[in-house]
Amino acid sequence: MKNRKKKHWYDYMWIVSLSYLLLGFFNILFAWLGLLCFFIPLINSAVKGNKAYCNRYCGRGQLFGLLGGTFGLSRRKDIPGWMKSKWFRYGFLIFFLTMFAQMLVNTWLVFAGAESLREAVTLLWTFKLPWHWAYHTRTLTPWVGQFAFGFYSVMLTSTVLGFVTMILYRPRSWCVYCPMGTMTQLICKAKAHE
């Protein structure tokens, strides 16, 4: 029997994902880099009509695979039926995008001077965590910081949700309802109908 498959450079993208979360703890402005893992998969699917991002490069998926699989932090139970239903997946996507839009509005309000910058990370769209130590450049235009806090909140929230479902179900359960995965799949479906 052939032993383990050959590892590629992209099998180590989990290091990038982990570093991203850690860097945001020290300087929130690193959160801006997260835009890459927003646009790259979307552009890739729109241009190439495949899910190469999920299938190869996504570090977040790998991180869950590693923690849940190799490190065994997963019960390895079947995910409940409703979580893989289209209702839930599309519903979660809509909810996620709505929250994302709200984050952009908050950034806009700070940009327009209607609100002042809040140096906090919002977990699960509800809990405000103090995060002021990660914001050093107060000379910067405040909206740049507001966006960073908002974007990092999105990333941290999805990591926490993914972590919980990793423990409860299978290592990569997050991939079942991950909004990026759902969006790229929808783009691929649209492309295939062209």
């Binding site: 052939k2 359960s173 995965g181 492309k191």
Partner: protein
């Protein structure tokens, strides 16, 4: 004589095309078609069940089929 062999089947309607199964397959029998769903080449599949264990949506089953 009829021979039964174990082969993997995907419930494609629920596939999220994450590709977790592709990574697991020791004989590269799985492909993600157009980014939409996984497809298994049952000529190649040896029915080891690794993909079924890994699929986060638990939609791969191993069945015995007449080869």
């Amino acid at each position: 004589m009829e021979r039964k062999r174990r082969k993997a089947f995907v419930e494609q309607e629920y596939c999220v095309s994450c590709g977790c199964c592709v990574k697991e397959c020791p004989v590269s029998a799985i492909q993600i078609v157009k980014g939409i769903m996984a497809e298994i080449d049952r000529q190649i599949c040896v029915g080891c069940g690794k993909c079924a264990k890994e699929c986060p949506a638990s939609i791969i089953t191993i069945r015995e089929v007449v080869a």
